[in-house]
Every structure is written in C-alpha cells, then in structure tokens.
Symmetry: C2
C-alpha cells in the first residue's frame, strides 16, 4: 500500500526491478506492525465485513499478543440502510485531493465520514497511521478470495503469500492496482500498509456461511503472520503471481435509454480469472445474440459485480504479472 521506507514506487515498478530474481534482493528490516485496523461495512450491503467486524467487537479481541486490533464499521448509515452507500461511494473518497478538499454544507455524508476515518486510522501517509489496514468486501462475482492492493508493498505480499499457502477452501489471488498512493481512492490506502479482502460470490444483503468463514480464515491468518513477524521471524523472499488491471468492459447498451441490452454470456459468467481469448463469448443479448471478445488474451475479473452496473463496468480485464519480493524481518531497536 504505502511503500516501505527507502523504496520508491517508481523504482519498484521499473521492469528490471520487477523481473530480477528475489535471491538478488537485499533482505529488508521493517518496524513492528503493532497497530492493525480490521474494517467492514465500507459498502453497507456487503455482509461478510459487517458481520465479521460485529463478531470481532463482540469477542472484544482488541489485543492479540503483540498486535492491537481496532475494528471499525466504517459506513454505519449505509449498514443500517443495507445499501452500498447513502450519497456517494465511500470507497472512492480517500484520495489526497478529496481528503483535503474544503467541507461545505453540501459535502456528501461519505466524504465527511472519510475524513473521520482518516483522522481515526490515519492520517494517510503520516507516521500516526495504523500499521496495517485490512478492509473486508464481498462481490457477486465468482472471485474466490482476493487480496487487492495498490503499489508493491513487501508486507502485503508476504501476508498474501502466507494466506495463499494456508487456505484450501477457495482459490486465493492477488490484484494489484497500479495507482500512486496519493490517488489511491479506497480505505486501505489510509494505513501504512493495507489491502482489501474481496471474496465472492455472495449477493449483496446476504451473508453466506462459506464466504463468512473464508473471511474469518483470512483475518486469522493475517493476525497470525503479524504475530510471527513481530516476534522476530524472518520470512524468506519469493515471487507471486498477481493480476493487474488493463481495462474495463461495459455492457452493450441501448443508445437512447442507456439500458443494458445483454447479460454476461453463460460461458463467461462465474469464470473470473479464466483466460479470455479473442472470439470467446462475452455477452448474450436479451434477444439472443452472442457478443465475442476482441483484442488481446486477458483475464476477466469482477464479472457481473452488482455494484458496477451503475459504474458501467460488466467486467475488468487483467494481465498476469509476477511480483518479486525480498525476505523481511522486524527491525530490532
């Protein structure tokens, strides 16, 4: 999320850095990760996060060994209404520009709430920010368990590798959004490190036990890793595959009404992360015609996500990349 001290994002993104072997990378020492925030309800109708946070608050597990855990139901009004948001999407409010814009009488609820959260868990980019911010989401797309994060961040990559090695109930994947931290719009960008847990398929407004248990496992494994890190364990470097956004595809729409005129094709539906080749079906129109994929071979994800109809996104397309990271251990005083 935020880059480790002494590493610039640009350096990390240059191709020679991306593809050199992790054996050549210098081990990295980082400060302890003692203040962690687990958040849910950023989208008020994504129930895994809502009930996970409520359950953690009930257990009053504020301190797990070396890790102090803050739990936050981030958009309480949207949770009460069981809607994604009240006025605007809270999870698009955390850019530097939006967090510093003047507040007026017409400032939407979610922008005000973003500032409160930034004061409580950040400020973003400051030494006071929580060490790790984990925000729980779910999707109607068949995405299994995904960790979504911005630029390269050794801590997030190590946690991802750990969760992937331990979870067997669903595929675990990483999605990297290539956006500078100042423009990173979602809540997890407020922490020094951070990621979103995105899990599906689960309808909005519904909690499924299988999906809830995946989230619980990912949260438990994250805390487990943080404890081991703080205790002085060294985690060997390595490499992981990740998906990085190339472009988004909208539904076919009626030019007059803007209504969608097709659904995701049955051969694409539920096939997130299955390589889409030119000529593969993407949409089936309501009158029965098939639309086919054109262009490069790419990996679809967020296929038929409910909340993206209004954002004019039927699915995202990604390419697969390899991310290389050094061994890490806690910095001794």
């Amino acid at each position: 999320m935020n880059c480790p001290v002494g590493q610039s994002r640009t350096d990390q993104h240059s191709s020679d850095k991306l593809f050199f072997s992790y054996q050549q990378m210098e081990p990295v020492s980082l400060p302890p990760l003692s203040r962690v925030a687990i958040c849910g309800g950023t989208h008020g109708n994504e129930m895994s996060g809502v009930y996970m946070v409520k359950e953690l608050q009930k257990q009053k597990a504020d301190q797990t060994g070396s890790v102090s855990v803050t739990t936050v139901l981030t958009n309480p009004r949207a949770v009460d209404a069981c809607r994604r948001y009240i006025e605007i999407d809270l999870n698009r409010c955390f850019t530097d520009a939006l967090l510093s814009a003047p507040v007026t009488d017409s400032t939407p609820y979610e922008l005000r709430r973003a500032r409160e959260l930034n004061a409580q868990l950040g400020p973003k980019g400051s030494p006071e920010a929580v060490d790790l911010l984990c925000d729980i989401h779910n999707t109607t797309a068949n995405m299994g368990m995904c960790l979504i994060f911005y630029s390269l961040d050794w801590i997030t990559l190590h946690i991802y590798k750990y969760i992937k090695s331990k979870m067997t109930s669903t595929p675990v994947r990483a999605i990297q959004l290539d956006i500078p931290n100042s423009e990173a719009y979602s809540l997890e960008s407020v922490g020094k490190h951070g990621f979103a847990i995105e899990v599906g398929p689960q309808p909005n407004g519904v909690v499924r036990a299988d999906i809830f248990n995946m989230v619980r496992e990912a949260v438990d494994l994250t805390k487990e890793w943080l404890q081991a890190f703080n205790s002085g364990n060294t985690f060997a470097g390595g490499e992981v595959e990740a998906y990085t956004l190339v472009r988004s595809v909208d539904y076919p729409r009626d030019p007059t009404t803007s209504d969608i005129t097709a659904a995701i094709h049955p051969q694409l539906q539920d096939n997130d992360f299955k390589l889409l080749r030119p000529g593969n079906p993407t949409f089936l129109s309501f009158s029965g015609e098939t639309v086919k994929h054109e262009g490069d071979e790419l990996y679809p994800f967020f296929v038929n996500e409910c909340a993206y109809y209004e954002k004019k996104i039927a699915f995202h397309l990604a390419r697969k990349i390899t991310l290389t990271f050094p061994s890490v251990s806690v910095k001794k005083d």
Copy 2:
C-alpha cells in the same frame, strides 16, 4: 388463482376432493384465455422480470395468435432506484382490504400504485380482470424454477404441468399458498387466473443469462399452452406434486440488538427442497456453533432469500402434497 366457475375453494380443499383420482373428475370447459398480462419489476431489484418485460415491449409482441399480451413494469420508481420497493412492499398490497382502503395524503406510493394496477389489470375478482396474470420474480435462494399460486386453479396447474414437462435446464416446482383469494396479497391475484414465476439463485440487482433464459422459456411455454388451449385442444387431467407452506424459521438473533447471530448452515445453504430431518444443521453461528432442525421432516425453500432478512425469515418449511386436476378444454360458444 381465482377458482374456475362453479368450483368453490372450500370444496377443492377438502381432503376427499384433493385425494380422489383425477380419472374420476369431470372434464371442465372454461372460457378462452385471450387477455394475458406479463409483469415484472414488482420488486425493482429483481432483474429477470425487469429485463424480460423491457424485451417483450421492445419486440412489440402484443398479440400472439389468439392471445393479447399486456406487459407492465409494475413498480417503475423502484426499478429506477434498483430497490425492492420505495415505501412498502408492492407485492403485499393486493388484498381486498388494502385495495379498498381510503387513500389519504400519507398513503404510501406502492399502495397507490397497487390501485392503478388493479384498475389496469383487474379489478380483482371482476369479469373485467385479465384472464391470466403472470408476475416474474427472482430470488437469491437456489430454488430453480417455481410457479407460486394460491388456491387450486385448473388452468395454472395445467400450465405448470406443461412447463415442467418441457423445461430441462432446471428443476420446475409448484408452491401453493393456502390463502383465500380476498386475502391473497400479491399481484397475480388480480387476474382471473395467475401465478408468480420465481427463479433463482440470482443476486438482487444482477441479471444472469442462465436465469433470464429460464424465465423466457417459462413465458414462451405459457403462451404456447394458452394458444393450444384457445385453439380447442383438450388437456388430459392428472396430478402433480406441490409444496405448501407450513411455517417460517427466523435467524438466531441477539436479544438486545435484534442483529442476526448466525448464517444459514453450509449444509442447508443452496439445498432448497431437500428434505430437512430433525438433527440436520440449519444455522452456523458467527462464533462457530451449529444449530439443528427440530420438529417434523419438512422441505425448506426460500433459503437465505435476501429480502426476507427484514421480514425475519431465514427459510420457509413446506410439506409436499399431491394436487389432482381434471381435463380442461375451451368452452365452445
């Protein structure tokens, strides 16, 4: 929906009538079924009906042989907002009492809309009502294709038998709600005959091509049957299995907050219509405890339906019954 002329509901419900053989039943002649309404968007976030109706309106297929088809997007404000309803659930507004209650300034939008629909497609119980009203719904529960109707109605049962014999893409089932027509609360009760098409699983706010195509097939088969009936075909009597509601089960809840404290158990989730025996798991609490079914062996349905959280229903329980119906043909002038 409404009983055929000369048949009283009570008679049809008495057990000796229900269980005598259909071979003993007198053939029934009924007037032609020439005016049909296909409705969607009664719940504004159930997209199969919304897009089915829009597609039918685009095709301008107002007349199919002997059948004149009226298509209605029944709750346009809820469709625009992509919400189940604006003020109250429209599909609970069609009892005789609610349709005849005085309108005041504080009458909710949906009650006003119910009267408009009753004027357009009914009035309920009158000779002016459409001959058949088919209202399209979808559910987050794994219910496949269901036809839901109130009291015994030979026409609906014949259409159900026809659809079941032709559809192979998903199980087709019948659900009978044992409520007198005057107290029948949903839109289809406005027609002389009527049923709801309920299909799932599909998240609210999402349209899936597979689910959409099931709805299209059921609508096409209904029109096909009506044409054949009006043309003078005789349809042999028979018997079908149906599910009838026994009781509903709520989620375990926190006595203080009323928050749910458990999700549907993974062994019950997606297993609608699979016999639930005493001791079978029904809920898995967020802290990991299993709750088990107590009482009779019954069939669960509407398991984890999104809209029923607020109605305090985790699932319904049904018993299976056999419905017997006579041969039918059109009444000659």
